[in-house]
């Protein structure tokens, strides 16, 4: 047997998954690209080549609104998840160090939310935010004598509500990643800092934060891409309303295809989503520590 040439030897190993990815990702992406240059409709067998799907988007008022929504939703969700995730991770690590009981319980509860399907998450929060007199949060507010809040019917509040629901579900992911990063910080650094008489804040600022920076950056982009592509929660929570107040890009693309039946336009929108994701991916790879490549 001639010993394998390394390059060729890898091929049979890679082939099954590469074929699968080519069939289920590459081909559809190119097909979507083709569709974006047509006026294809879900109901119409005849499609003609057209730039209308793309040029129609350029500078269109709804797209501007939707992009603004997307930015607000994504940034809000990501920052919220990172901040809350960091708080919980710090708390858990701090509690573990002090050998406090109950960290496992907290971790489990937070992670349990992550396991809930996004679609169910939207439904649950719809029940919670319901503005009917018997809605969960508002009836509780009324019970303690506070005025009810227009969680979903006020445009600004609706976006905040959607972000809250997303944070509630997604925090677990960033918590775990940051928890792992925190645990990997050499304890002797803190011991050295303690000997140097550093305050708690100084320890956080000069040791914890710098060590977390790569993890924070990488996670921020990962979560950003996930949030960008997620539409289940918003779909089930507000459907994009009131008006277009919570219609994010992914939901807009979904609505365009499945409510407006405009396949070509929907394909163009989904490709825009892809481009944004890819730009973020490139940022991610630039931020990745060198050795990881």
């Amino acid at each position: 047997m001639q010993r394998e040439q390394p390059g060729r030897a890898a091929l049979p190993w890679l082939l099954p998954s590469f074929l699968l990815l080519a069939l289920f990702y590459l081909y559809p992406v190119f097909e979507a690209l083709r569709l974006a240059f047509t006026d294809a409709r879900l109901f119409d067998a005849t499609t003609t080549l057209s730039l209308g799907s793309i040029t129609g988007l350029w500078g269109s008022a709804p797209l501007a609104t939707v992009l603004r929504n997307t930015l607000a939703y994504t940034l809000g969700s990501v920052l919220g998840q990172l901040a809350l995730g960091l708080c919980i991770a710090l708390l858990v690590v701090r509690a573990e160090r002090a050998r406090l009981r109950g960290t496992l319980v907290l971790r489990t509860i937070v992670l349990a939310a992550w396991v809930i399907p996004a679609i169910a998450n939207g439904i649950i929060w719809q029940l919670l935010f319901s503005e009917a007199p018997f809605g969960a949060i508002n009836s509780a507010l009324r019970l303690i004598g506070l005025a009810p809040v227009a969680w979903l019917s006020d445009p600004g509040n609706a976006m905040i509500s959607a972000i809250l629901a997303t944070i509630w579900q997604g925090t677990a992911y960033s918590m775990i990643l940051l928890y792992a990063a925190l645990r990997s910080i050499d304890q002797s650094l803190y011991e050295a800092a303690a000997i140097d008489n550093a305050t708690g804040f100084e320890r956080f600022w000069f040791i914890t934060l710098p060590h977390l920076r790569p993890a924070l950056l990488v996670n921020a982009i990962l979560i950003m891409i996930m949030t960008l592509n997620m539409f289940d929660t918003v779909l089930a929570l507000t459907g994009g309303g009131p008006g277009r107040a919570t219609e994010v890009l992914s939901l807009f693309a979904y609505n365009t295809v499945f409510r407006g039946f405009e396949l070509g336009r929907g394909a163009a929108l989904s490709l825009l989503l892809l481009v944004i994701s890819l730009v973020l991916t490139v940022c991610l790879t630039l931020l990745l520590p060198k050795g990881r490549k």
Partner: protein
Amino acid sequence: MVRSRGERLSDIAVYLAMALLALVFLLPILWLLSLALRTQAEVFLGAARFIPEAPTLDNFASVLRDGGFQSYIWNTVKLSALGAAGAVGFAAPAAYAFSRFSFRGKGAMMLGILSVQMVSGLVILIPLYRMLDRLGLLESHFGTTLLYIAAGVPVTIWLLKIAFDTIPQSLDDAAAIDGLSRLESFLLITLPLAAPGLISAFILNLILNWSQFLIPFIMLSADEKWPISVAIFRFAGASSAATTQLLAAACLLAILPALAVFVILQRWILAALMAGAVKD
């Protein structure tokens, strides 16, 4: 170890913060439970009846008694498990190649796979719908499982590569000297040793598949084929107000299996998540 007064005070603060966070994360699920235990009349009483006066299991019973619910759960289990097993099966050889072989363009390929992960289902589902249609795989669990597998493969390749990287290369060398082919050494040496990584990847896929909504939503129209996520969404759109308590019960029952799997197998899921996290 003697703890100082200051430390004990800060321990108490930590406890309080932990309790508060636990409550925040628990309340939505508790509210769901509260609704599911109420009678219809009590649903309209809002937070005042957080603890139902006359808790009833009727809602759970009527959901569980329903043949449809059982089939949704069974479909979800089937799709999730087959999808997860398939993803691991497809990803393992590729991950092995990325871990063990050196070849030109390896880094680029790894990044390419990572960026594939970024492709939203929305981008590709309509072309996929038409493709599966031509292949006669639409409306079938087989075709849907293939999509689940494809969705899981990229991240699974990464997870398994990290798992394989931790197995010393010299074991492969030893196996080669013992006369094993690459394939044999992969099957007999690497895979058994990577079992924890394989299990972690499987369970992570399982949980992600449990939440999968878009693929079955588009690919399956017959309700006897639906997984629970689609059924719950349809149900929320088709229920009448008189059934909020049933919706809550169905929701709770739908997330319960995933919760149970998660709580029992937490260690493996954490392992999978953290493997990706600390690798640098």
